[in-house]
Symmetry: C2
Subunit: 272 residues, 2 copies
């Protein structure tokens, strides 16, 4: 028999305000925690990074509907709070967390740990100046789907713990090593020092994707949504690779990253 | 010397309300016109489908910044209205059309015309039950980028003239033949009758993408974001193809379509 969960019913309580504050970057950085919203992302947190889960908040209806989440949280010793819908809406950034929300500790790892995860033949993706939360989240999903060894996010990119990014990763944030906050220059330098070939993904590239050498350790370097990769980044990369397309500007950043990561995965399975 | 543009300054005028009404499907269907918002999409309209442009609305600042749009509209005989920012905000669905907005006549073509556009060796994408505007728009971009011959959208999918879809196509809507509104069953039947092989893109597929035969005329059949393709659609397809991924549910619909369309394009250039 389990203890009844403590109840939260006032949207104005101190705890609710503290959780809601995690919608803001300053509060996330101060506390070292972030919001995980919705049953899918919370499930991946509890399955893959339960040790980082701080608390689970859910409505009575969601507790019944997502009994697996309650069970996983109990198994992992994660405190569970039963909340009114008004409390969940007050805490959530999205307005519609489907009755489920968790607070988790940061899950990023030091850059060297992420690079170690590449092993002998792994590939990574580097986000240098990606600003759109949906794009960052989609790139993480692609990295997860296609078996990338790590995702390396520069200090100049969107905060990966922004609730919009977390939501758009659909849980992939908890599946592979992610390193955050290194300045672009240091990030590229660290890759090179470890023998990770840098492939800039850029429409200006003279090497077409089908002709690119995707064997061995490499990282796809992605630029900004609007202005791509600056010259000083392109110069530090080993190769600039373009996806053959019929019309310029017809691929957005997330689509380009998806195609590049898929190509790296396909090159591996073809030789496996 | 050109005539000065007529002015629109009252957000409550009849014309402004008629344009704003195009945010709603009923008004679009009644008038046979739709909204094109922002300089990028408007430019593609004027460059690729000027005959379908009904009117161009822009602020004084935008008229100066995007002089090419004014010139293209003048060349094509498209009426230009000079508007206050308040008028543009009142007309736009997005709230931020960057000072530029156009009204255009529907650009879709009959299904048979779209199928003709596939030629001997073309490929298409079929949206059976896609509901998210961003996904539909991204699939259109991918079809454009990778040289698909047509996009075929069933009656059960999101309205392609929804301003959110139009915006997310980034102008691709004006680049290739799009057919709309055919019931799923008739759409699949028409493809089969024309010898277009139907490849269902679905994680349940037993054929993996690298093993799929992408030669000859074919169409990628995409399902719903949440529940994929129903059994009765899968049964009518020639093959069900899965993208090899490390984890189920890690690709969203737009990413899967991007990878499949890229594969069809790559198969063509490899044999070219």
């Amino acid at each position: 028999m389990t203890e009844p969960s403590p109840q939260l019913s006032s949207p104005r309580s101190e705890r609710v305000r503290q959780v809601a504050a995690l919608g803001r970057r300053a509060a996330r950085e101060r506390s070292g925690t972030f919001l995980v919203e919705g049953p899918q992302a919370v499930r991946e947190l509890l399955l893959h990074a339960a040790a980082d889960a701080v608390a689970l908040y859910l409505s009575e209806a969601a507790g019944a509907r997502y009994a697996d989440l309650v069970r996983h949280a109990q198994d992992a010793g994660v405190p569970i709070w039963s909340c009114t819908e008004a409390v969940l809406v007050a805490m959530a950034d999205t307005g519609t967390p489907q009755g489920v929300l968790a607070v988790a500790r940061r899950v990023d790892v030091p850059l060297e740990v992420a690079l170690d995860a590449l092993g002998e033949d792994g590939f990574a993706v580097v986000l240098t100046h990606v600003r759109d939360p949906g794009n960052a989240g989609t790139v993480l999903r692609g990295a997860d789907a296609f078996g990338a060894g790590a995702v390396l996010v520069s200090a100049a990119s969107v905060d990966l713990y922004n609730p919009k990014v977390v939501r758009s990763t659909a849980g992939s944030l908890f599946h592979l090593p992610v390193s955050l906050g290194t300045p672009v220059d240091d990030l590229l330098g660290a890759c090179r020092a470890r023998g990770v070939r840098l492939l800039a993904a850029d429409g200006s590239g003279t090497t077409l994707l089908p002709d690119a050498d995707l064997s061995g350790r490499h990282a796809w370097v992605m630029g900004n949504e609007a202005w791509g990769l600056p010259g000083e980044v392109l110069e530090r990369c080993d190769q600039t690779v373009a996806i053959p397309i019929r019309r310029a500007e017809s691929l957005n950043l997330a689509m380009a990253a998806t195609v590049c990561l898929h190509a790296s995965a396909a090159a591996r399975s073809a030789t496996a």
